[in-house]
Structures are given as C-alpha cells and as structure tokens.
Symmetry: C2
Subunit: 347 residues, 2 copies
C-alpha cells in the first residue's frame, strides 16, 4: 500500500505525550505560557466567532462540543461531564480537541484535553488573579482539593507569586493528597479542618468543589473586605458554591456573560445582575480592581476561547520536539475526483 | 512510564485501515450493510436528539460539526467544505468522526470519515432508490462523474439491481475516469457527450456535480414520466442542480426538512413546499411511490443520523479484525482526584 501524503497526516498529542511535553517544559512554565496565549486571545475577543456550547444531555451526564474560530484557526473541544462515572472507575470529565486551518478546513492538531483543560482552567484563574487580586497578596485559601487544586496553586504561584496555601476539603483524604503533592512542589501548606479556618488570613479564596448541587461552600460571613474570590466549581446549571449574599457585595467578573448567566454562580441572580467582561479589563477598556477593600469575584465557567488558546499553544509547543505522532486521518487521493480509485488501488 | 489503562484507549480507524476494512469486506457488501444500519436508524427517527449542524463560515469555506445521539450512543462528524482547495492540492471535503457512549461520555471510536461519508451518501441514495425507483428500473443516468460517482453506482447495483450506466460530465476526463473504474467493476457503461443524451432511456437519474452555484444540470424537458431523480449535488445554500419546474412536477422526499429547506434543491421553492420525510416512508407510515408515471425526487443533503449509522457500522465492523489502532487519548488516573499526581509521576 502506498504511504499517505504529508497533507493527509495530522499531528496527534496522546495523554502520554502531553505529560511528556508538560514535564519537559515544567508545569509552571506551561501555565505561564498558556496564560500568555489566553491573554492574547482575550485581548482580541471581538475577532472570534463565538457560539454557545452545543450540549447533548442524558440522564447521567452531558456531552458538549465547544467550537470557536478566528480568521486563521478553528478549534473545538469535545468534553463530557458524568458525575456518577467515578463509581464505575471512569473519569467524570474527559476531553479532546482539534485545531484546524480556516483557509483549508484541514485539521492541524488533534490532542488529548483532559490534562490540557486542567492546565488552561488554572492558567485562566491565575491570569485573572493577576488583574484582580489585592496588592501584596501572599496567602490563598483553597476549598475543594480535587483534581484541579494543584494546577490552580501552581498557576497562582507563577502568575501571582502566591506560595502559602490553606487547604480544606470535606474529604480529608483529598486534602492530604493535595498537601502531599503541593509540599513536593515547595509550597507552604496548612491543612484546615473547616472552610472557615481555611479562609483566615487569606487574600485570595479559590473554591473548587465537585458536588453537582447548589451548595454553600463559602458563606457571606467568611468573606472579608479586599479579598479576591476565584470561584471555579460553579460551572453548570444547578451547581453553585457561593451564598448569593457574597455576589451582591462583590464586583463580579466573567468570561462570556451569555454562558456565565446560565452556568456560573450568577445563575442565582437576576438576569440583569451587573458583571464585567474580563476581555475588556485585559484590554484596559474598563477597570479591574479599583479599591483595596473591594471584593472581586471571578465567576469561572470555562469558555471555548480558552480551549482555542490552549490548542494554539500546544500546536506551537510541539513544533520543536517529538511529543506527537502523525495520524493518517485525512484521505488524500492523487486525483481529488478519484477517491474510488484510491480505494480500489489500496488493495 | 506506566501504560495507560484499557479505559483510556480509543479505537482509531485511519484512512489506510478504512481502505483495508472496505476492500476486505468488498465495497458492495459494505454499502449493503451501511444501508441496513441507515434504514434501522431512519425507522427509529423520533428516538434521536436532532440538532441543526453547527457551521463556522469563512471567506473560502465552511467547517461543520454534525452531532446526534440516541439513548445509547452519541456521534458527531467534523467536516469541511472548501471548493477552492483543489487548486492548492488539498481536498474540497475531509471528514472524521467520533462515536461515544452516552452512559459514560467516553469516546468509543475515532475514525476517518472522508471515505466513510462517500460510502454512507451512496448507501443512503441506494436505499432511497429501493423505496422510490420505478419497478423494473435497469438504466441509471449519472450527471457529474466526480468523487461520489462510482460509490453511487455500486450502491444502486447492490441495492436496486442497476448494472447499466449512462455517464456525463462537463469534464470528459472525469467521465473517462469514472467509466474506467466502473467497467473494472463489471458495469455496462455508455459515455455521453451531453446530459440530454445521458438521460435517454434511463429510469433513474443521479445528479452529482460539484459546482458551488445555482446551476441547471437537469432541465425540465429532460425528465420524463416515471423517473426517479437522485439529486446529490444540491447540498448547501446557493448550490442547486435542478430547474425548479422539475420540483413542481415531482414528489419530493427529504431527510430532515429544516435542513433540506436551507441546503437542498427545495431552497428554490417556497417555505411551505410539500415534502415527504423518508423515515416515515421507511416506517410504512406514508407511501413512497404510488404511481408508475410519478416523478420521485430524493433531495439529498446528508444528515447527521446517516453519519451516526456509519459510525455504528464501523464500530461493529472492526470488532473481529485488526483494522484499527488504539489511541491513548483519555487521561485515566488511578485516583480521579489525583490528575496532578499522574502527571508528576509520569516524569
């Protein structure tokens, strides 16, 4: 059988190769680079073709496609969310994505995105923290110590200089896991028996729990003046983490209002609840934090442009190495009109 | 590095493996089997979660995602359409697709779909021909002899018993290519200098040209009583092949009216132009052809459920062979909460 032409081959980054790539560059370097790509893309926000994610809901979960495009590239992420999966040994969330050339429509990258999504979520949080956290912040409380926790910590260290962490999870085993991983990364870690204890003396509070319900992991009395809240876990309808009184006191910053009003913490608030779009803050068009006593809140849900930035980053990052394979996924007959001839001659 | 667990691996069918699969089973057998899967899925049409395709348009083309799901599986196809691609050695259309488990959200198949789309399009046409072509049909005219032509011919032979073909294309080289390929498959082929000549004595007329404009490859005077028209090429806004007078005389059958009214031949007609849904014909709920002198017309645009059927078919067909590889595309940490630990331990 003849070899497929070069045009027919698409670089593929497997989970193993993504881990090699990240570990060879260093996770903090990757987070810093990702933040730069995300910031670049947020600053040219109006250039993107933005669609709400396309969701297929079933009894046990959801499968979503998240496409977006600029004039040069098209990207989409496939991601599922199945909270009961862990009972049967499967992951709650898995993801992969594709970057394509808008000019030809040809895919130019296929990559795992389970690890990449964890990285881009953390990079976005750290980036937003750099715009909104109070000056001189040194301590971050982290409520919820699951899969996202360590990535968040690393991002806040490399992007905001945070090295002191106060961890709490309703499951002490999760806190022990995160504390072990984070101490190995050189963090100063305090394990806290309650969320109330965790937030003491923290200038940044990250909430990142997994419960799919309207929970209150952070109540109004726990939030003092000047704090930046990085609210990660409230990210789908019926899943919130914050008492709504906090939202009323805070300046709320979001990625894409039409999506955040459905999926974020602000689903608890009226439809005209005022929010600020982060791309406008990054562009310098509107202010971020204006007062040291102001409570700022990033109501993070994750938007397609962050995945697009992550795909762009990986496409660039693999160029000089061997952290990918080539997949023969595009048929490329010598004569475009002779697909059948290519098929019969292959035998 | 430890091996990824079995749960993390997804079967992948490359272009080379798709060709091996099709040639080992025989293209006609594959077309017949695909038609059976498509018919099964059309007969349970109301069970599907149907969304219009999600399109991203640019100056030179379009990139589309076509998702659909039943209670057991979710599938989507990525497909581009870039008419100018052939000028620079690229294909106009390339495609790949994914089938997933609705219960877990995990992908269970990733496959090339450029060849598979050509097969499912032809299988759908042949299947529809079996319901609508006049009894005793022996001769098919084929106007447009590009990449889809041979697949259509094989599908009409295995599904409708057609072995005599009359070919025409405005490019004689395309006709020569198709005639050569089809004679090698045992067809009786007449090469015709005009479309008018091609349709003489044909009971079935397949139009399948590539021009992206409102063209008239078939005019009203060329269509006699009792003919079945298999109209493949009119499949996006601004791209039609038939003079609209033909539509007025014919009984028009479509896959999914909301999509066909935008993309099909009937984009030329008023919004309330009467059409019959093929799934209802296959279910026996409404009649197909009712009169030997009736002109029937399949206004084919291609619908996500046909891709879903094709994905289901490939998923079943590869089970007993070696026509696939396993891709490490899903991260699967031992402890779902310890994605970071999996990453750092990989080094």
């Amino acid at each position: 059988m003849s070899q497929p032409s070069e045009l027919a081959l698409v670089p593929f980054v497997s989970v193993a190769n993504m881990m090699r790539l990240v570990m060879s560059l260093g996770p903090e370097q990757v987070l810093a680079d990702l933040a730069r790509y995300i910031e670049d893309d947020f600053r040219r926000w109006p250039e993107f073709d933005k669609t709400p994610r396309v969701a297929s809901h079933s009894r046990d979960g959801v499968i979503e496609l998240m496409p977006t495009a600029d004039a040069e590239n098209y990207g989409f992420k496939y991601v599922n969310g199945h909270p009961k999966n862990t009972h049967s040994g499967y992951q709650t969330v898995t993801a992969f994505g594709v970057l394509s050339s808008v000019a030809t429509g040809y895919p130019i990258l296929l990559t795992e995105m389970t690890i990449l999504t964890a990285l881009r979520t953390a990079a976005t949080s750290g980036l937003v923290g750099r715009y909104l956290a109070p000056e001189g912040a040194e301590v971050m409380a982290m409520i919820g110590n699951g899969a996202q926790c360590e990535f968040q910590a690393l991002a806040f260290r490399v992007l905001c200089g945070i090295n002191r962490l106060r961890l709490h999870d309703i499951d002490p085993a999760a806190t022990a896991k995160a504390a072990r991983n984070l101490r190995a990364q050189g963090f100063e870690v305090v394990e806290c028996a309650s969320a109330q204890t965790a937030v003491e003396g923290a200038q940044i509070i990250t909430t990142c729990t997994a419960d799919k319900q309207n929970a209150t992991v952070l109540s109004d009395n726990m939030v003092g003046a000047g704090v930046h809240i990085n609210a990660i876990g409230g990210d789908c309808p019926g899943k919130t983490e914050l008492q709504c009184d906090i939202l009323s006191r805070a300046s709320v910053f979001v990625e894409y209002p039409p999506q955040t009003r459905i999926e974020g913490e602000i689903q608890q608030m009226p439809e005209d609840f005022p929010v600020t779009e982060l791309w406008q803050v990054m562009l310098g068009a509107v202010p971020g934090r204006t007062d040291p006593r102001q409570i700022t809140l990033f109501d993070s849900v994750g938007f397609a442009i962050e995945d697009f930035s992550a795909l762009r980053y990986v496409h660039d990052a693999i160029k000089d190495g061997d952290c990918y394979e080539l997949l023969d996924i595009l048929a490329d007959p010598d004569d475009p009109r002779d697909l059948f001839g290519m098929l019969t001659r292959s035998a």
